[in-house]
């Protein structure tokens, strides 16, 4: 019996024991002597089912999960008899509704096969975008991206095409493509999942960006907390170079692109693009003033495209399938798909990629399945630690940049963190200020001093110390942070604080 078994080697799966599962598969195969091929794929993002073991047989793939190492022998033994009878049996993977009901574009390949196989990547449509881009003029590539409506997925949602055009039109001896892979938002993991499951998509996206703006050098600024992603990227870059996709002559085109990975050092603020550039240049990660924009004077003072992992990855889809295809997805000015990350107190956590426009409630109910604790869901924080806490009255808001902005919230990088009814929203508001205090780069005064004062003021409110006056002071402080801060770190910290105060005032009494 020829058998191919998939055991993910993604950080989440590994944390849940995937290596032990893989060992058990190998052990079982050795004992049986049968032809068993073990594939370490990436994760499909169904983290609630990890380690998710897939068995390929007769052209179909059956899923089992979550699988413990001890369960492997019985599981594999059951294949010849009655796999469906196994307690971890999930059916054909393509028919799992959680996955089937998504619109996987950026994450279409995630978890399907060996992330480092160039052949595999190509077989699933990889490099189609690059091939098309190589035949286009830089201006035409930029135009395609502009027409697609693709906006920055890092949080700011700035139109990618406009940024690329600025860099294209800048005249400089050297331009750069920088990938922001410093994914620091609590409850987010889409960048990591992509880099571990489908690294060539990022490589391809960066090459396309380079071709579009005339940059022959790129850096992936990766947070140091992602060691597995680093391993995958390092190998992917080496193989892409060997395969002629990177280097002086991309696939015989005569065009060059050099790509390197650089590690961060554990600062949230280095996810802010200008602080990232400072760090990348070898300096302390503090925010730069704008202007000049990085697109005009970025890395080492040169015009620089700095985009999030998902933005660059999406560019491959735009180029491969065309701007019209991408633009047809989504709603309003939010085009394409949005990779959401369900986390926190959630029953079925993981990556959910959907076109913009679906309501938050539908996502957390249909995909999330409610809280893991089983208690009623009380608040949802969307967009990372600087995102607003949304009470139930806001859950019908469509996932759309403008719709969220209209209710004083933001989609950010698509993190969705759920809280049940035991949450203390005053503590959460305090945490927002405390987070800012810990992660502030310390350059501008509102953020440097204000975040610490914010914690103190909230403590006084909670302690019942002149709560009325301190609430006024807290609101003044939030205004100061919002209007006075140098970057979005201080500027957005008021979002979770104000939303907690407004929607859950009782928690502060």
């Amino acid at each position: 019996m020829n058998l191919r078994v998939y055991v993910p080697r993604d950080t989440t799966a590994l944390a849940l024991g995937a290596d032990a599962v893989a060992d058990a598969v190998r052990h079982w195969a050795a004992k049986r002597g049968g032809a068993v091929e073990l594939v370490r794929n990436g994760s499909r993002g169904m983290f609630w089912l990890e380690p998710l073991v897939e068995v390929e047989r007769d052209g179909g793939r059956l899923a089992f999960g979550p699988v413990g190492a001890g369960e492997v022998p019985a599981l594999l033994a059951s294949l010849s008899a009655d796999p469906a009878g196994h307690p971890r049996y999930l059916g054909p993977v393509a028919e799992i509704s959680w996955l089937r009901d998504q619109r996987r574009e950026t994450f279409a390949r995630a978890g399907v096969g060996d992330p480092l196989s160039l052949t595999h990547y190509r077989s699933l449509g990889g490099f189609a975008g690059l091939e098309r881009a190589l035949a286009m003029s830089p201006g035409a590539i930029v135009e395609e991206v502009t027409a697609s409506g693709l906006r920055g997925r890092g949080g700011a949602a700035f139109p990618a095409g406009i940024k690329w055009r600025t860099v294209l039109e800048a005249s400089a001896p050297q331009k750069y493509i920088v990938c922001n892979a410093d994914e620091g938002d609590s409850g987010t993991f889409a960048d990591r999942l992509l880099m571990e499951a489908d690294p060539y998509q990022l490589v391809e996206g960066m090459i396309i960006a380079g071709l579009a703006v005339g940059a022959d050098r790129g850096y992936i600024y990766l947070r140091s907390e992602y060691p597995r992603a680093r391993e995958v990227l390092d190998q992917a870059l080496a193989r892409a170079s060997a395969g002629g996709y990177l280097g002086e002559d991309i696939r015989g085109s005569g065009r060059a692109f050099h790509l390197e990975v650089r590690l961060g050092a554990g600062a949230y603020i280095c996810g802010e693009e200008t602080a990232l550039l400072e760090s990348l240049e070898g300096r302390r990660g503090t925010v730069r003033v704008k202007p000049p924009l990085p697109a005009v004077a970025g890395l080492f003072g040169q015009p620089t495209v700095i985009n999030n992992v998902l933005t660059l990855a999406a560019a491959t889809t735009v180029l491969a399938r065309g701007a019209d295809f991408y633009r047809a997805l989504g709603s309003g000015r939010s085009r394409g798909t949005l990779p959401l990350q369900l986390a926190g107190n959630v029953l079925r956590g993981g990556l959910v990629e959907l076109p913009f426009g679906i309501s938050l409630r539908e996502v957390v109910e249909t995909f999330g399945g409610g809280t893991r604790s089983g208690r009623p869901l009380r608040a949802i924080q969307v967009g990372g630690p600087l995102g607003a806490y949304l009470p139930e009255s806001r859950w019908d808001t469509p996932l759309d940049y403008e719709a969220f902005a209209a209710i004083g919230a933001m989609l950010g990088h698509g993190g969705v963190v759920m809280f049940d009814d035991t949450v203390d929203m005053a503590a959460q508001a305090r945490f927002a200020m405390a987070f800012c205090a810990v992660e502030s780069c310390g350059k501008c005064t509102p953020c440097r001093i204000g975040s610490t004062r914010g914690v103190e003021v909230i403590d006084r409110i909670i302690a019942g110390d002149a709560p009325g006056e301190n609430r006024v002071l807290l609101r003044d402080l939030c205004d100061t942070l919002e209007q006075g801060s140098l970057c979005a770190m201080g500027g957005l910290t008021p979002l979770p604080v104000r939303s907690a105060l407004e929607a859950f005032p009782g928690d502060f009494d």
Binding site: A437, G442, C444, T445, R448, I449, T452, E456, T480, Q483
Partner: protein, 948 residues
């Protein structure tokens, strides 16, 4: 120029230079150059936007968030410091929203700041206090019980300023000043968020750090966090006087900030033409010598040098001096007396002293200490280009693409210019360093020399010839420039000379010690890298071929067309504040003011008519001739003004013997210096703080020196010369130094347009200044060379006689250190000695090991002339075979070792090459022992004169 004290005008961000842009700020139309910030545009329109982190000496930073404004059509509240103006922009700097925002930010600041304004050293001069007032802060609702830095300990390790982090607002101005202005990178912000704190980069205290104590951080600090100790002690000054530093040849402009007649602090003047608001540890802080108890403030006389000093009145001292000199001349002839002028003194003082010699003594026995430093510059640049001076203003370096530094340790000896040069390097200019030592410029933070050519001491000419050979034989020369601007015949001869293969880098590799490929690369870079500029120092001039090397440099510049515009040129870095001026003023025995030969009848006639006396057409004695003459008995009387030849001139024992054989030695100085210990008359000098006059710096910039306190002796130096001239029967009558300058201007074409009124109006003037260039001439030789056509001089390399051999296998070279100045008479009497308490001998580890010498050992240094003993510092800054020391302390006796070899053309001593042997010793040299004894005896004789 005396004004009430107020801080220097600050427009918040640096000036820009773009096309005019018009905008509207608070209803006022403003037109400024494109690139100007909204903040500066407002300031220029008389509108102050509150600010804390912005200051116009630093690039905008945008951190304080006080300067936010509203701009119509722009979302939010952009910071005015980081927002450039745009045409048609409408800005509001005062709105209700901005008022709330600013007050709330200020409230945050004050929630972590001590409330001790009334007892704070910055009280009355604090930008935080000012901003709190401007924003109308009335209460701090956060209270003062929260997290704070109020208990952060002070760092008072630096002798001149204190760092009090409890008062710090983390605006980073100090950190940025250290980076952008000084270029040392000694400071950083440690930690992040609320824990962000100014810190020395290596985590220690200021004194133990890379900090060079330039004071830029102190000047930049808006609060009392970094504050001069003198202000902490004395309080805020009440008036200021603009003046010029009396240390190195950079000639920084300062505000002497005063309380009565006491200097509270010296602050670099932002409008200073030479320094643009920057300073170094000497000029900024080391002024305390002026009021040091060692100052001698009464004239003294004695019959012989073993007699106690006798304090006398000025009248008696002057009469005595005049009588003695007339007696000597009567007995030994007119030429038996002379004077040495000082490059520390003002132009007016130097002018008067040479006038006294020529018209009063009736001979030309006047020389200056430039003899022993830059006399080859005068000779070499005059011969080739036509003017005995550097060709560029310092600002020219801002436009240089390739910078060649030869024999100049700029970061130590010319630190303020070095900072400017380093800034240009950080902007991308390339650098070639030609020096036997790994000086700081070879590799400093964010600065790295593209090529360091570690030339053997004494081989400069071989190296420079080889560079020219490469440029010419590889066809990299500027043929059109040469054809148009240079003397064709001289070039043809030189071309044949330099093209000879014996000048190829490969052929001279043994002599230069520089690998030929590196030399070729450096030469190519100089010839082809865009604007190329050469800066050189005493490492070029103080050689037996000093003048030849200067001409070789000028040849290179002409060869590559690097003359006559900004960014290029040949710039000698002058050691003392007024070396250029003392030479300009006719201090040389063969030249009247303006470098005109005494032998020239027309020139002499001009001065004879003006001075009303007949002048001797025969050039007089140079300093070494004076010493030789003293020992021969022909030269009997010497006036030595502001110069310490017994310490600074080579072959100390020879100098001492010469001084001892004089019948009458008159020393005019602030202190009983080494020379004064051999004197018969001591005339108390006035420091630069006590007199009016002018100094001329290395870029020919004439700047006013202004009296900020009365002279301690009752007389300014020029008045003493006037009195002495009158006593000699040579009438002089000047109401003030301005009148002396008027006479100089009348008689000297290159100073024709100079007057105190014009200097006051313009701030400073670079000569030539005449009707054609009434505001001076920053760049020389723009269209034609001063001498007409540039002249290529044949520069044959002739190795010095002074070479390493079996007996003296090492080459000693000498130099300077940042904290001390020249003979140290001034800086040793300040806290600067904390950085350099003694001179040491730098020796390479290989040479040290061979001799069993370890760091800190006493080592004897022997040359064929003499020996001395210093402590060893084992370091790779020097290359094997080369040892190095300084001569800032008299007892070091560096010049006991140096020889009387000298430049063939000018007699400038060969300080930079002395063959020596070094070995471990256990006791001072015989000379040092004798010197200690002599010194004790002379101090005793002084003490007996002036019981304190």
């Amino acid at each position: 120029m005396l004004q009430f004290y107020e801080p220097q005008r600050d427009c918040g961000t640096p000036a820009a230079a773009g096309e005019p842009v018009s905008l509207c700020i608070d209803g006022r139309e403003v037109t400024v150059p494109a690139g100007t910030s909204v903040m500066r545009a407002a300031a220029e329109a008389g509108i102050k936007v509150p600010r804390l982190c912005a200051t116009d000496t630093l690039e905008p930073f945008g951190s304080c968030r006080i300067c936010l404004v509203e701009i119509e059509g722009v979302k939010g509240c952009p910071a005015s410091c980081t927002t450039p103006v745009a045409p048609g922009m409408t800005v509001h700097t005062q709105t209700g929203r901005l008022a709330r925002l600013r007050r709330n930010v200020m409230e945050l600041y004050i929630s972590d700041h001590p409330l001790d304004c009334l007892t704070c050293a910055a009280n009355g001069d604090c930008e935080l206090q000012e901003a709190a007032g401007e924003t109308g802060l009335r209460e701090v609702r956060y209270g003062f019980g929260g997290a704070n830095h109020l208990d952060a300990p002070k760092d008072d390790s630096n002798p001149y300023f204190t760092f009090d982090p409890a008062k710090c607002i983390v605006c980073s101005r100090c950190v940025r000043a250290c980076e952008e202005v000084q270029g040392t990178f000694a400071l950083t912000i440690a930690g992040r968020g609320f824990g962000s704190a100014v810190s020395v980069a290596d985590g220690g205290d200021f004194m133990g750090s890379e900090c060079v104590s330039c004071g830029a951080c102190v000047a930049a600090c808006p609060t009392a966090t970094l504050m001069e100790n003198s202000v902490i002690e004395a309080g805020i000054p009440e008036h200021i006087v603009l003046t010029t530093c009396a240390y190195c040849g950079v000639g920084c402009a300062f505000r002497a900030e005063m309380k009565g007649s006491a200097v509270v602090r010296m602050t670099p003047w932002k409008k200073g033409g030479a320094n643009a608001g920057h300073a170094c540890v000497k000029g900024r802080f080391a002024f305390g010598y002026a009021t040091h108890p060692d100052r001698i403030t009464r004239p003294m006389i004695r019959e012989h040098i073993d007699a106690p000093w006798r304090p006398v009145s000025w009248e008696e001292a002057i009469a005595y001096t005049a009588r003695r000199f007339r007696e000597i001349q009567a007995k030994h002839g007119r030429n038996s007396v002379g004077a040495i002028t000082s490059s520390r003194c003002t132009n007016e003082e130097v002018y008067l002293l040479q006038k006294l010699v020529r018209s009063g003594f009736g001979n030309n026995n006047v020389d200056t200490c430039a003899r022993v430093c830059h006399s080859p510059t005068g000779y070499g640049l005059k011969a080739t280009l036509g003017t005995s001076a550097g060709t560029q203003p310092f600002a020219s370096v801002d436009e240089a693409d390739v910078i060649v530094v030869i024999g100049a340790n700029l970061t130590e000896a010319h630190p303020v210019f070095a900072s400017r040069l380093k800034r240009r390097l950080r902007q991308g200019a390339r650098l070639v360093v030609i020096d036997p030592r790994r000086i700081e410029l070879v590799g400093a933070p964010r600065v790295r020399a593209d090529y360091h050519l570690p030339v053997n001491p004494g081989a400069n000419v071989a190296l420079l010839n080889a560079m020219a050979h490469v440029v010419l034989t590889e066809g990299l020369h500027a043929a059109p420039f040469i054809a148009e601007r240079c003397d064709a015949e001289a070039f043809a001869a030189w071309r044949t000379f330099i093209a000879d293969p014996r000048h190829a880098p490969e052929q001279v590799e043994d002599a230069t010690g520089v690998p030929a490929p590196m030399l070729r690369e450096a030469a190519r870079l100089y010839a082809t890298g865009g604007n190329s500029a050469i800066y050189y120092g005493l490492g070029v001039t103080e050689h037996s071929q000093g003048s030849t090397a200067v001409m070789a440099i000028a040849n290179l510049a002409m060869l590559t067309g690097n003359l006559g515009r900004a960014g290029v040129g040949v710039s000698p870095m002058r050691g003392q504040n007024n070396v250029q001026g003392s030479c300009d003023m006719g201090s040389f025995p063969h030249e009247l003011p303006g470098y005109r030969p005494v032998a020239d009848d027309a020139t002499r006639g001009l001065f004879e008519a003006a001075w009303g006396v007949a002048l001797d057409p025969v050039p007089g004695l140079r300093i070494p001739n004076m010493f030789d003459g003293a020992l021969d008995g022909n030269f009997r009387g010497l006036i030595c003004q502001g110069e310490d030849v017994a310490q600074s001139d080579p072959n100390t024992q020879h100098v001492q013997a010469a001084l001892q054989s004089l019948e009458c030695l008159v020393v005019q100085d602030l202190f009983l210096n080494e020379t004064a210990k051999y004197a018969h008359v001591f005339l108390p000098g006035a420091s630069f703080l006590e007199k009016d006059g002018t100094f001329t710096n290395a870029e020919r910039r004439i700047s006013r020196v202004r009296r900020v306190m009365p002279p301690l002796s009752g007389k300014e130096d020029w008045q003493v010369t006037v009195d002495l001239a009158n006593a000699l029967g040579c009438p002089m009558d000047y109401p003030d130094p301005g009148a002396i300058m008027d006479e100089i201007a009348r008689l000297t074409p290159s100073f024709h347009g100079v007057s105190y009124a014009r200097l006051d109006a313009l701030g400073s003037i670079q000569w030539p200044c005449d009707d054609a260039a009434p505001e001076g001439t920053p760049i020389l030789h723009v269209d034609t060379f001063a001498r007409g056509r540039g002249r290529f001089e044949i520069t044959e390399y002739v190795a010095t006689d002074e070479r390493a051999n079996r007996r003296f296998p090492l080459l000693l070279t000498t130099g300077r250190i940042l904290s001390q100045y020249n003979v140290g008479a001034q800086t040793r009497r300040t806290a600067n000695s904390a950085w350099h308490p003694e001179d040491v001998l730098e020796i390479h580890p290989a040479d040290a090991e061979e001799r069993g010498v370890t760091n800190g050992d006493w080592v004897g240094i022997r040359s064929r002339i003499g020996s001395t003993v210093l402590r060893a510092r084992v370091t790779e800054r020097v290359k094997p075979g080369v040892v190095y020391t300084t001569f800032h302390h008299p007892i070091s006796g560096a010049n006991v070792v140096t020889t009387d070899n000298a430049d063939w053309a000018t007699d400038c001593p060969e300080y930079k090459v002395t063959a020596v042997q070094v070995d471990r010793v256990t006791e001072p040299s015989a000379w040092q022992a004798r010197q200690r004894q002599f010194d004790r005896r002379q101090r005793d004789l002084l003490a007996r004169a002036e019981p304190r």
